[in-house]
Symmetry: C2
């Protein structure tokens, strides 16, 4: 029912095929985020047209509203949202922490205050899996704790060990066989704690592994060594998912280090704020420069906005606060990330990934590559993880 | 370049073909409103898919932002907005009055305060035509004054006479031959003043006539006799446009009285507020009833929302304030009005319009037909206008 096959490798960057009950996807891939059962402003038909392959749904939001029972009554997320392809749901743990409504973490689980009606709600490993089974995604995530950044070493250690005990409870509770559960490796930016998490997590031999606890406030110079260290120690024959990450430069660096799956609200959120992603960086349509610019956002892009509209028109929509603005900029930004990953897959297949990535980076960053980015490309050549820098302790 | 041909008639209801430089449209038709160069939330591709034929643009909004020069630089509204079909622009007069920023009306024109930056702007018949020529719509409107409701008879009389003098200035100034200018008949709800406006306006023999000054606060029982009176006295071989009107029941009653063209922000505005139009009346997706309703909005509708989504899902989007909600409800509501008019055209062609309209009305109003609606259907059988009721004077 699930199968993952690496088809091409170039350094540690790889192209793979991941088969799920709702379809086979090609990795690396970027997953648009459909927090509340919709990728904000975008129709399922458009998602298919721009090359989306797997959509992320949020357990925390959906369990509170409309409730997982209603989604299940529609046959799960594909029936509810009308997106016919594969979904991935997170465990709800990250939102509970990040939305700041957390009230208590115990060995049993977490208690939080609903951001909708203020009621107290409990989320445990078992409850998370129960909800995720009702939502019916093809890939579901283990219920974990993602500590804030910065956090004490001692706390991160306790937390990652509890996350492993929760993983075991998730696997024990899980009953549906048409859903693949991914374990989540924690440990913050500390290589020794990442090693500890790997040592405890890998034996469960789940169908895929996620890298959690990153992109939560640390710098990229702190984050990428942790990605490098972790992916170098994950099994080669399983998909790797870098959670919540997805700026253009992150996709290039992450793929260099062997990441297969990404998700992020960034393309849709920055689109709603009037920004368009391009190979030359982010174009600000709120500024005065594009108001008389008769070019499309991106000459090479094949999205609806780039095929039909000038920057001047889109800047007008942004200024006039028209609904079509967030829609078109979200669509373009998602297409930009999908097309970026398509170009990367092509380069990997042709064995030219590193030179492609350096050229892309020089254009995107407007000259010299940031150290963390260049180091990630360098590390792509080392099977065991080249970035063995001393990671400064937070504490 | 322009041609209008009545192809079928059933009572005073008629089906026609209206040829314009950007395409031939079939009347009666409903025109979606694209105030600021976009039908709120809907793409041009979707407009074509749901059967939109002509789009309305607002001179007042577009001259202030982004300015007509930028639209002209794109080759007019079709190039700017990427909607390839015909457009109609209003004259700007109504918005100046209705948005309440009017400062002064003189024989020369109006001076108003921009709602965007507070600057004082002048709009005259000549300036309105200049802007409309730059916007490049196929159908443009004479610059008129639409008095508020209620207004003194004396004021309405002076105003309609000035509107005729402005019409003459518009026609004198107009230089583009690929744009059809429609005159606007005023006179409020007073049959004698409507007659006065007709007497002064018809001699200009413009390519089409609009019925202005209605749907501005009067009741439908006051409005429809004025429509009846006016359409009965307009030439049979020119299109008639009832400005700013477009609730479902208005399309049926207006077409019964021989109206060919309608526009209204209602379908998109009520969609943004969470309402869906149906043959059974307006469905409120903000209420609790649809939250577990697994039916589509309308079993017979072929719009994207009805083909893919349950009421429960759409009600969830409305509650969650998701961008897809206004988009899908606007799309459905526009498709509902287009499909309503398509069904009416079919009934006219088959000579069954009146019985169709009565059956539709009984379902829509949930039983008995309102008097004004039944009277409009009755009047459809009288070539000279059956509603010769005494219209109560406002004063």
């Amino acid at each position: 029912m699930f199968e993952f096959e690496v088809q091409h490798q170039d350094g540690r960057a790889r192209v793979g095929r991941f088969t799920t009950p709702h379809g086979t996807v090609t990795t690396p891939m970027f997953m648009p985020v459909g927090t509340q059962g919709t990728v904000k402003g975008i129709s399922p038909q458009e998602l298919l047209e721009i090359g989306s392959q797997m959509i992320l749904g949020n357990t925390y939001h959906l369990m509170l509203r409309p409730g997982e029972a209603l989604v299940a009554a529609h046959g799960g997320l594909p029936g509810f949202t009308a997106y016919p392809g594969p979904f991935l749901t997170d465990s709800g743990g990250f939102q509970v922490m990040s939305l700041g409504h957390l009230r208590k973490i115990t060995e049993e689980g977490v208690v939080f205050k609903s951001h909708l009606d203020g009621s107290m709600v409990e989320l445990t490993p078992e409850r998370s899996i129960e909800v995720q089974q009702a939502l019916g995604a093809d890939v579901i995530m283990a219920f974990d704790e993602c500590p804030p950044f910065p956090a004490e070493r001692e706390y991160i250690t306790q937390s990652l060990e509890r996350t492993v005990r929760w993983l075991e409870r998730c696997l024990t509770f899980k009953s549906r066989e048409d859903q693949a559960l991914f374990a989540i490796v924690q440990g913050g930016i500390h290589t020794d704690l990442r090693q500890r998490s790997l040592d405890l997590t890998l034996p469960f031999n789940t169908l895929g592994f996620a890298i959690g606890g990153l992109a939560v406030g640390e710098s990229k110079a702190e984050m990428y060594p942790a990605v490098d260290f972790t992916t170098a120690r994950l099994p080669l024959d399983k998909p790797r998912y870098l959670m919540g990450v997805g700026h253009p430069e992150d996709l290039v660096a992450g793929i260099a280090l062997g990441v297969d799956m990404f998700d992020c609200v960034y393309p849709t959120r920055t689109g709603r704020f009037g920004y368009a992603l391009t190979d030359d960086g982010r174009l600000n349509l709120n500024s005065s420069a594009p108001r008389r610019d008769m070019r499309p956002i991106d000459e090479e892009c094949d999205c609806y906005a780039c095929r039909h509209y000038t920057r001047a028109y889109l800047a007008h929509l942004v200024r006039a606060e028209e609904l079509l603005a967030p829609r078109m900029l979200s669509l373009h930004n998602l297409r930009y990330l999908h097309r970026l990953v398509e170009r990367i897959r092509m380069a990997i297949t042709e064995g030219t990934f590193e030179s492609w990535a350096r050229a892309w980076g020089r254009r995107y960053f407007g000259g010299e590559l940031p150290e963390w980015f260049a180091a990630s490309l360098d590390a792509s050549r080392s099977e065991t993880g080249a970035i063995q820098v001393e990671v400064p302790l937070t504490q």
